[in-house]
C-alpha cells in the first residue's frame, strides 16, 4: 500500500461522495470511509497519504480519530473539515498536530491546497524517515569503542584529548576514526556531527 492516497472520513454519505469527486477530479487517489473506525481498520504506519476528516461525526468524532491514529503509529497528516467555526476545538486539533482546518463551505482551491500541503508534508516525513533509516543502519555497524570515540568527535574533541579521556593512545584513536569514516561514509567531523544528531544519537550528552 505504497500509493499516496487521500483518506476521506465523513458519516454523511452524500458529502463524502462529493468531496471524493472533487479530489479525484484534481487527480488525487481517494478512498472514502463513512466512519473513523473503518479508517482505523484499513490503515497502518506504512500507509502513505493524508486523512481528510469531518470534525463532527457520531461515534468516533474527528479529534478522537486523530488521537487513535497517533496511538496506532499512523503518522499521516490530518486535514479537518468543519461546518462551524468552533475555536476551542480548532485550537485543540492544531495542538494535536492537524495540518489544516478547512470550513466546509470554503472554496475548492483552499481544500485542494490543504490536501497538497498535507501530502507534501507526508512526502517530506517519508523522505526524512527513509534517510534516517539508512543513517541509523550505518551507525548501527559501529563497535562500542568506535561509538565512544564518535561521541567525543561529535562533542568537538581533538584526537589527543579523546585519547586522554578514553585512556587509549592517540594512534588507536586515529585508527578508530578511520573505521568510523569508512563505515558511515563521511569524512569531516562537522558532517559526522550533523548525521549523528539526525540519527538522534548522544542527545543527553549534549545537554
Amino acid at each position: 500500500m505504497n500509493a499516496v492516497t487521500v483518506h476521506l472520513v465523513d458519516d454523511d454519505e452524500s458529502h463524502v461522495r462529493a468531496v471524493a469527486r472533487l479530489l479525484s477530479a484534481q487527480g488525487f487517489a481517494v478512498r472514502a470511509f463513512h466512519a473513523g473506525s473503518a479508517l482505523l481498520a484499513a490503515v497502518s504506519p506504512a500507509t502513505r497519504g493524508c486523512v481528510v476528516a469531518d470534525l463532527e461525526m457520531p461515534g468516533l468524532d474527528g479529534l478522537a480519530l486523530q488521537h487513535e491514529l497517533a496511538a496506532a503509529g499512523v503518522m499521516m497528516p490530518v486535514v479537518f473539515l468543519s461546518g462551524r467555526g468552533d475555536i476551542p476545538r480548532t485550537v485543540k486539533a492544531m495542538q494535536e498536530g492537524a495540518v489544516d482546518f478547512i470550513e466546509k463551505h470554503a472554496p475548492a482551491e483552499l481544500l485542494v491546497a490543504a490536501v497538497r500541503r498535507a501530502l507534501a508534508r507526508d512526502g517530506d516525513e517519508f523522505a526524512r524517515r527513509a534517510r534516517l533509516g539508512a543513517v541509523s543502519q550505518r551507525f548501527a555497524s559501529l563497535t562500542k569503542r568506535e561509538m565512544e570515540v564518535l561521541g567525543e568527535v561529535v562533542r568537538g574533541q581533538m584526537n589527543k584529548q579523546i585519547a586522554a579521556t578514553l585512556g587509549i593512545s592517540e594512534r588507536t584513536v586515529k585508527m578508530h576514526r578511520t573505521a568510523i569514516t569508512t563505515k558511515v561514509g563521511v569524512h569531516s567531523a562537522a558532517q559526522l556531527a550533523t548525521l549523528a544528531r539526525e540519527a538522534g544519537l548522544f542527545e543527553e550528552g549534549n545537554r
Binding site: D12, S14, R21, A25, M57, P58, H105, P107
Partner: protein, 615 residues
Amino acid sequence: MQGLSFITILWSSLASGALLLGLVHGMRWLLDRGASANLAFAVVAFSFVGVAFTELGGMQAATPDAWARWVRWCHLPLFGLVAGTVVFVHLYFGTGRRWLLWTAIGTRGAVTALNFLSHPNFNFAEVSSVRRLLFFGEPVTVVGDAVTGNWQWLATLASLALIAYIVDATVAQWRRGGSDDRRRAVVIGGSILLFVLLATSFVQLTIWGFIRLPLLISPPFLVPLLAIAFELSRDMLRASRLAGELRDSQSRLELAAGSARLGLWDFDGHRGHLAASGEARAIFGLAEGDSDDFRNWLEKVDPDDAERLTREIARALDSGEVYATEFRIRPDGATTRWVSIRGRAERRTPDAPAVIRGVLRDVSQQRQAQDETQELRRELAHAGRVSMLGQLSSSLAHELTQPLSAILRNAEAAGMLLDSRSPDHEELKAIVTDIVRDDRRARDVIDRLRAMLKRRETEEQTVHGDSLLQDVAAIVRADAASRSIFLEHLPSPELPAVHGDRVQLSQVLLNLVLNAMDAVAGQPAARRHVLLSSARSADGGVDLCVADTGPGIAADAARRIFEPFYTTKSTGMGLGLSISRTIAEAHGGRLTVETNAQGGATFRLSLPVQGGTAI
C-alpha cells in the same frame, strides 16, 4: 193575499236564529277542523231550521194530502236533529256507550226509512180529513180523521233508545266530578232529556187524538238548543280569555327573555317559517315587519356556516333531540357576530309536521374572550417552539451545512470535469442527481424548521402518530448523534390516524424527546437510549410514547412536573411540559409520565382517534 201571520213570523224567527247559530258554529269548524262538536251542533241547528220549516208548512196546509206530505218531510230534518244531537253529546262529553249511540241513531234511521216507504207517512196509515183551529189566536191546520200508522211503536222505541244513550252519557259526564263537568251534564243532558220527554208525549198524545194541536217538535227543542248554545258560548268566551292570558304570559316571557338578551323562535320546517321574538329579530338585524320566511333569516347567516346550519336543522327536525350549535351571522352584511342557538323539535301529533322551538343568544363577547385566551395560548406555544429550536440550533445548522457543502463540492467537481478534454457524462449525470437530492434534503430541514417557527393559526388535519414521531426524530437526529445518544424509533404503521394540529402535536413530542435526551446525557455513553414508539391505547385511542434510560423522576417531582414554572434543569423556564399538557388536553387527550421498571421515565401522549379542538 193573506198578510204575514204571527205564527209565520214566530217560526221564521226561530228558524233564522237557529240558522245563525248553525252558521257561527259551522264557521268555527271551518277555521279549526279540530272543533268537530261545533260541526255537530251546526248540523243540529240546520236540522232545527228544517223541522221548523216543515212544521210551518203543515200548519198552513189546505188539504189532508198536503198536511200528510209536510209531516212526511218533517222526518228528514228530524233525523238530522236526533243524530246530530247524539253525535254532539258523544263529541262534547266524550262519554256514553257506543252501542247505545248506534242504537239511538239506528232506530231513528229505521223510523225515517219506514216513513219514506209508508203512505202517506210513518205516523198515519190514512189521513182522511184535516181541521182548522185557532192556535195563538190564529187558524192553523191540524189532523182531523186519521188512522195511526202500524209502526208507531218504533218511534217510541227510538225515543227510548235516545233517552238511554243520553242518560248513560250524562251520568258518565256527571261522574267526572268537576263543577264544570257536572254543570254541563245537568244543562245539556237535562235539557235534551226534557225535550225528548216533552216532544214524545206531546206527539203521541196528538197522534192518538187525545189532544188536538199541530204536531210540534221545534218548541220543546228550543230548550236543548239554547242550553247547548249557552255552553258552547261559555267555552268560546273561556277560549278567548285563555288566549288573552296566553298573550300576557307570552309577553312576560318575552320581557324576561329580552332582559336576558335571549331571542325566542319557532321554526316550522313544513312551511319554512321561522317566527321569532323581537330580541331574536334584533340580533339578526331583521325589522319587526320583515317576513317570517326562513330564507330571510338564512341570508343573514355567514355563507361559511349557512350550509352546515341548514343541514343540522334538517337533522334536528327528523331526530326530535335537543339541538344546539353556534354559528356566525352578519346582521348588517358587514360585521360578524356569533350566535348560539338551542332548541328541540316537537310534533303535536305523531304524524303532524315537526316544529323546533328554541332560544338564541348573541355570544360574540364570550367568543372573543375565548379567542383571546386561545391566541395567548398559541403565542405561548410558539414561544415554546422557538426556545426548543434554539437549543437545537447548532445541530440543525450542521444538518443544513451537510447538504449545502455537498452541493458546493459537487458543483466544483462538475466544473472541473467540464474543463477536461472529454468530460465523463455518466459522472456528470450522477453529480446532478446528487445535487438535486441534497437540495431537497436541505429544503426538508428548512421546511421542518419553518413549520415549527411560524406564528400561525391552528390547522386541524388527519395525522398519523407514526409520522409525527418520524418528523421529530428527524429534527433531533443530528443533536442526538453529536451527544452520542442512541435515538430509536419503533414504527407501527397500522395504527389509526388522529385528528389535530400537526405542528402542535410535533411540539409536544419534540419537547418530550429533548427532555429525554437531557435526562440521558449524564449517563455513560452505552446507557444513553431514547425510544420513540406508538401503540393502541386501552380506550381505543393512540398512545405516543417517549421512553428514556435516564435517572427517572422522583415521586415529588412527578407530581409537580406539569405545573408551570416548575423545572429541574438549571436552564429553562419550566414551561415546556405545562404547554405540552395544555396542547394534549385541547386535543381531547392526556399527557402522563410513569417510571420504567429498569429506571428512566416514559412520557405518554394519549390521543383519541376522534379528537377535540386544537388550541
